[in-house]
Each structure stands twice: as structure tokens, then as C-alpha cells.
Symmetry: C2
């Protein structure tokens, strides 16, 4: 069957709260700089109260990727869980406004829509503290199998793996995609996330994933090595296509026993790294869906990431079609 969707993303549906802070704030609040830390409701309340004023903007790693794909002209849909509250309304509005299909029914009870409290330091690094709320309760019932089966790529967020029910939802989606002869993609999301799930993920990568996204820290954590080349060689034996990002050093695509090194796009100002990996994946998959070679896929990933890091927030400020 011809695929009617380019990509469907599965992930934590989150509204970002973004504020700029100095390094002292990170130290005083004992935050895990550059990483993503899960926080409970109490910690979310106290950290939120102590953050400087900022802005709210829809986020969520896979949702950012789908918004990027839509901005590039791809046909994208999203599966994730919000509550029927104000932040849930914000999330749904913003996602649909980008052209991404979204039809998961908001929860009518339980925890509120997820929030990620993001501190951006003067070096443009982002530190994320996520209160998962209802997003972690994405269940197999929320996965519309006809949507998954109709998408050329099913893109799953490693972040979701922390909750058993969401893990079950992802495994189900991956099985549907495989049965329909589609590509299955995974992003490792975070090196601490990798530490928590290493054994399961090694098995998943060897058997269920066709297209992997990871940054240098994540792929090194996966193989418990400090040597990127070692990690790149190992992943090449397990996954058909791996796109490995190295920040300002660009990215390396490992496929067919070869490595393709692609420099980063030129960026005039780096303001906020939030969403860089998410948008790299968007550019890469957009090019892949359009039959481009892997070099072009990585280039487009770099261009999309370059737009995102030039401003606060993880969703494009311009139509990405204008950049490619």
C-alpha cells in the first residue's frame, strides 16, 4: 500500500516553559546542565516558582520533529497525550496550526498536561526538567493503528521509555509499522535515558529499528565508550541507517558499511540549543521521504537544526521551506 503519511511521531506531549538564567541558577538549584531530568509535581512547583519570567511554547521532542516536518512540507501526524486543560489546549492548537495531524483524545481526568521547565544559559545550552503529567500515560489504546500503518516512517522518542504503559504503546506502534512494511525510527533522546535502558535498547536496535537518531553523548553512552568512532562502528553493525549528531562538528551518517561525514550548517548566532536534535531529525526524514541521498538528508537536518538554535524555543519561526 502506498503510504499516505510521511512520518508519524510518538512521544511525550509537553508544553515548554523557557527562561534565560545565569550559570549560578543552575548551580544553586542543583540542575543537571544540558540533560533532561524527570521531576515530580512538588519539585515542578518549587522550581517553576523560582525561575525567572519567561515564555510558554509547545514542545515535546517528537512533536517538535513533526512540526519541523510539516514546516518542510512533509505530511506528518503525532500521537501523544494531553489533558483537557489550558496547556493541553495550547499544545493541540500549536501542533495543528503547523499542519500536523493530531487526533488523540485528551484525558478527562488524572494528572495535568506535561510541562518542561527549560533554563537557557548564556552559552545557549538548555537544561530541561520535565514533569511528565499525563503525557506518560500514553497507552496502547491511544495508538491509532491505521495512522501508523499509513506512515512511511514511525518515529519514536526514547524519552517515552521510562513508563511501562508508554513503552507498551511504542512497542505496539513499532510492530504495526513493521507488519505494514514501514520504516521504524528511534531517537535515543538523552544519555541518562540511555543509561536507564541500555540492555533493552540494544536488543530493540538490533531487531526492531531501521533508522536511528542519536547525538555523540548518547551513542557513546549506549556502548559505554568515550570513543565516538568505536560507537559509530558498533551501531553500523546493528541498524540500517544511523544519523549521529556532533553539535558544531556536524553529523555522521552510518549506513551500508560506510560513514558519511557532513559539516554543520553555518549559523550566525546560537541562542538556544533546545530542539536542535529534534529538528535535525525532521530535516533528515523529510529528505529521506523525498528520495534524497543520505548526504542530502544530513545536510537538510543541519539546516533545520540551524534555524532552531538561532532563537528561543524548539519550533521553527519561519517556514523551513524558505531555507532549503
Amino acid at each position: 500500500m502506498e503510504s499516505s503519511l510521511d512520518v508519524v511521531g510518538v512521544g511525550n506531549a509537553i508544553v515548554d516553559v523557557i527562561a534565560t538564567v545565569d550559570e549560578g541558577f543552575i548551580a544553586r538549584h542543583n540542575l543537571n546542565k544540558g540533560g533532561m531530568t524527570l521531576i515530580d509535581a512538588d519539585r515542578a512547583t518549587s522550581l517553576y516558582a523560582s525561575m525567572p519570567a519567561g515564555i510558554e511554547a509547545s514542545g515535546g521532542s517528537a512533536a517538535n520533529t513533526m512540526a519541523g516536518l510539516a514546516s518542510l512540507g512533509s505530511n506528518a501526524a503525532y500521537l501523544g497525550k494531553v489533558r483537557d486543560d489550558q496547556l493541553g489546549e495550547v499544545f493541540i492548537r500549536d501542533l495543528r496550526a503547523t499542519g500536523v495531524g493530531f487526533n488523540v483524545a485528551p484525558g478527562t481526568d488524572g494528572p495535568p498536561t506535561a510541562r518542561c521547565l527549560i533554563q537557557v544559559t548564556p552559552d545557549a545550552e538548555r537544561t530541561m526538567n520535565t514533569f511528565l503529567g499525563i503525557s506518560a500515560m500514553l497507552s496502547p489504546d491511544d495508538i491509532d493503528e491505521s495512522v501508523v500503518a499509513s506512515a512511511a516512517i514511525t518515529y519514536c522518542e526514547g524519552y517515552l521509555w521510562d513508563m511501562d504503559i508508554a513503552k507498551e504503546a511504542i512497542r505496539g506502534a513499532m510492530a504495526v509499522a513493521a507488519d505494514a512494511g514501514r520504516r521504524v525510527s528511534l531517537t535515543l533522546s538523552d544519555s541518562f535515558c540511555v543509561d536507564r535502558h541500555r540492555e533493552e535498547w540494544l536488543d530493540l536496535l538490533a531487531n526492531n529499528v531501521d533508522l536511528l537518531f542519536a547525538n555523540e553523548a548518547e551513542i557513546c553512552a549506549l556502548f559505554e565508550t568515550d570513543n565516538f568512532d568505536v560507537a559509530a562502528a558498533k551501531i553500523g553493525e546493528m541498524v540500517e541507517i544511523s544519523a549521529l549528531t556532533r553539535s558544531s562538528a556536524g553529523s555522521v551518517v552510518v549506513a551500508n558499511g560506510e560513514q558519511i561525514v557532513v559539516p554543520a550548517a553555518t549559523v550566525t548566532q546560537v541562542v538556544d540549543a533546545t530542539g536542535a536534535g529534534d529538528l535535525y531529525a525532521a530535516g533528515f526524514m523529510h529528505a529521506l521521504a523525498n528520495g534524497a541521498d543520505l548526504t542530502r538528508c544530513a545536510e537538510l537536518g543541519g539546516i533545520a537544526a540551524g534555524e532552531i538554535i538561532s532563537h528561543i524555543g524548539a519550533r521553527p519561526h519561519v517556514a523551513l521551506t524558505s531555507l532549503v
Copy 2:
């Protein structure tokens, strides 16, 4: 009694939803470009759904002014009404994070926290569509008289005048301030607002206001003239100090039978005019509270306004103390 607060602001407590649109959007949705239009819940829902993705940021005219004052180092407090919902929480957090005192109890029933749907066009003009929600239900009971009596200036938003109960709250606050020997300030807010309340406001200005803020369109609307000089002369006979803003032409201060013309601050890029008037008032009152002459008051107003229009949103992105 020595004043312990520099300024207390009274206004509509609103969370802004800001998105950039093209001119076609304004025309298609029949919006009142450059103005502030009150919309009901149904219109808010449909307009929100049709807007492009954007960001949420705390707003409200007088609240923006208080945030600007705090950013300049003044001691400011705010009186306005939110619900005990997520957007109310956002509003309170952002205001307190700037250092503004806020202690009005959130409503526990009734309409939700107010939203202003703001479209920013390529010419940097903002078009505002406000769903007042619970903000319009600010009542005399919400006015802490000890706070008002302790502030050197009580600053009131013309926007609030549309609701009888809020009007009563403002009149009460003005009376408390006058009894305590403090200055009473009013901003006309919007020329359509002026059209709705002209007779009442002319009486209020003649008898109860010591410091007026208005832009050219508003002061001309007040006196039903196209001639700014005519309007400036007339207001000079009614109010002790009037600060009249003229966009890129700077501002004119009318006081003591004289007019002081002060050019606008140099701004390298104009992105979003939202909050320009609010921050002008902040800079002006900060200088006034510190005993500066009226020329310096207008200059500081221009500097604060210049920062706000250089980016999206109506709250400062840098500590304004760094600019003065």
C-alpha cells in the same frame, strides 16, 4: 507618610498568545488592525484555532508597565484578577518573578484567566483581541487599600473601564490614593476605548487624574480632533502632567503650560510593537519616582519602549537597568 511603593498598577490580568501573521490573515478574519477588540468566548475559541502556532507570555497593559518598573529597579505592585487555572498560575509566576508584588486571591469559580490573541504583522504592528474572562471581574474587594495608600503613584488602565465592577474598583483606588496625598495616573489605553468612555473620562481627567499617558490617536480621539497640537493644548488645561507618545516621532510632555518634545530612542530593529506604550509609562514613572526632570522621564520612557519593540512580547528580555 513616606511612600513604600513607587507605583501600584491596576489593570486587566491577561496572558498573551502571540503569533506572526501576514496581512491577509487580518483581512480574512476581519480584525481591527492596530487596535484592541473585546471578543467573547466563542470568538476567542474560533480565532485561537485559526491562528498560526505561537507563544504564550504574560501580558496585560498595566502588568507590563509594573514588570518594566521592577526591571528598572522601582518598587512596584499590581492589582488584577486571575482564575486558579494554568494560565492564572503562569501570570502570577511571571509577574512575581520580575519582582512585582502581587497578592490578589485568584478566583475559584467563574470564567477562566483572560487571554489576548495578538497577531503581529510584518510591519511590526500588533492587533489585539481580548477575551476578558475573570479579569473584568476585578472588584472593589480586590483593591488592597493599604497597598494603594502606600504607593507614590496609582496607575490605572483605561481598558478596565469597560466593566462596571472594575470601574468601581478603579474609582475606589483613585479615591484612596487621593486621600493619601498620592499621585493618580491613567492611561487611555486605546482610541476605541476612548470613544466608548469620552464623557466620563473628560470628567475624570479634569478632576481625578494627575498624570496621563496617551498616544496620538487616543488623545486626538478624546478631543474629537485630527490635530495633535489642538489636543495637546486642551489636555494641558486639564491635567498636571500629560505624556503623549507619537510612535517613531517620540513623545511630547505637556506640563506647567509648556510642551517638551523628546525624540524617540534609536532602535535597530522593530519586531513587535506590543507593549511599547506600557513600557514608555514604566520608564517615565521610574524617572519621575527618582526625582528626574520631565525631559529625562520622557527619554527613559523611550528607552524602555525601544527595548520592548525590538522583540516579540511585551515584557523586557533584559534587565532594563542595563540600558539606562
